[in-house]
Symmetry: C2
Subunit: 205 residues, 2 copies
């Protein structure tokens, strides 16, 4: 009769509006300063209602972190057009860093803040699927590079993690404000410049 469906859709709409409000406030004020009451105020409902749509605050921010992966995934889309795995690997790192610097709070949520990963741990399946498929993209590209003769003597898993660590290290030191110790003239573009150093390193492998 369509009525039930409309109800379900309306329920989904409220869930969506909670997520939208949470995202808005999170991007404005950060994780710690976005409270359940703030979110409730934003959607003009009472705080209690939120717990009928989400188990707890962690679940809300897990949902947001998933949105972050979707956005990053979109950006990574162009990679499929790059046939040469080494070029693809370079582009992948560039996109990763650009995404991180342009969406610092989302990056924080995806790779630094504990809330989303704590939520994953409290579930039955307990697998971080978003991280898993992202890392797998990297792993596969590195594998292709190795099949073409690059990175000789390296082990796939360890090298892939090292590459991820390097770009994550750059972005997270920046996000968590540990880069002000660098020479003032370098601070501004340190991540980009440092990634250039990294690319030079990759070339020699």
């Amino acid at each position: 009769m369509g009525l039930v469906e409309r109800k379900i859709r309306e329920k989904e709409e409220l869930k969506d509006s909670i997520l939208k409000a949470a995202k808005k406030l999170f991007l404005e004020r950060g994780f710690e300063k976005t409270s359940i009451r703030n979110i409730a105020d934003e959607i003009e409902y009472s705080p209690g209602i939120i717990y009928h749509y989400f188990k707890d605050k962690n679940e809300i921010f897990h949902a947001l972190h998933t949105e972050g992966f979707q956005e990053m995934g979109k950006r990574m889309g162009i990679l499929s057009a790059i046939v040469d795995p080494m070029s693809r690997l370079r582009a992948m790192g560039k996109i990763y860093i650009e995404f991180g610097l342009e969406n610092q709070d989302m990056y924080d949520l995806m790779f630094i803040i504990e809330a989303p990963i704590d939520h994953v741990e409290t579930r039955d399946d307990l697998c971080w699927s978003e991280g898993d498929s992202s890392f797998n993209q990297l792993r596969l590209t590195v594998k292709e590079c190795m099949q073409k003769g690059h990175f000789q003597g390296h082990r796939l898993e360890a090298l892939s993690f090292m590459i991820w660590s390097t770009v994550h290290g750059m972005v997270s030191l920046k996000i968590r404000k540990r880069v002000n110790i660098l020479e003032v003239s370098e601070v501004e573009n340190i991540v980009e410049n440092s990634y250039q150093s990294f690319l030079m390193v990759l070339d020699k492998l």
Copy 2:
């Protein structure tokens, strides 16, 4: 007359006991779950007293983060015995990683948590001296390597930051629980193995 001195010492003792209690609770339960009231309970004083010794919670954890740098500095002490800068650089990374993995909460405070760095920003001098002198140790070693002909074509500041980023990335991904996506057989020793990959990379430069 010595009395004034004793008073000063007693004041310092209370300040120290606050720090000791804060450290104990922090290492037991983490940053978020260590409250001013918890610390006050631990030292058997009322919560208010803490604000006569520290401006706010950030200042307490800035003091703790400084202790972390002292401990790491101690470990780095043996580096002065290593004459060859490349060997010294390798050892530096190893010590950094070992320190991070063996003192995850302290590492968190030093390089991930915002509290200590937020406190630095609210002061007049606003320089992160602990980070500065640590990074300078790295910078000087990399410089020596370059003077010996290594890392040709690289820029000192960018390369030093890249090296720091790589080890920081490894440790921080581990601490913030983003490594469970790796092959199960690799998770355990991924940081160490990945650092081995990094050393192989350094060798080729």
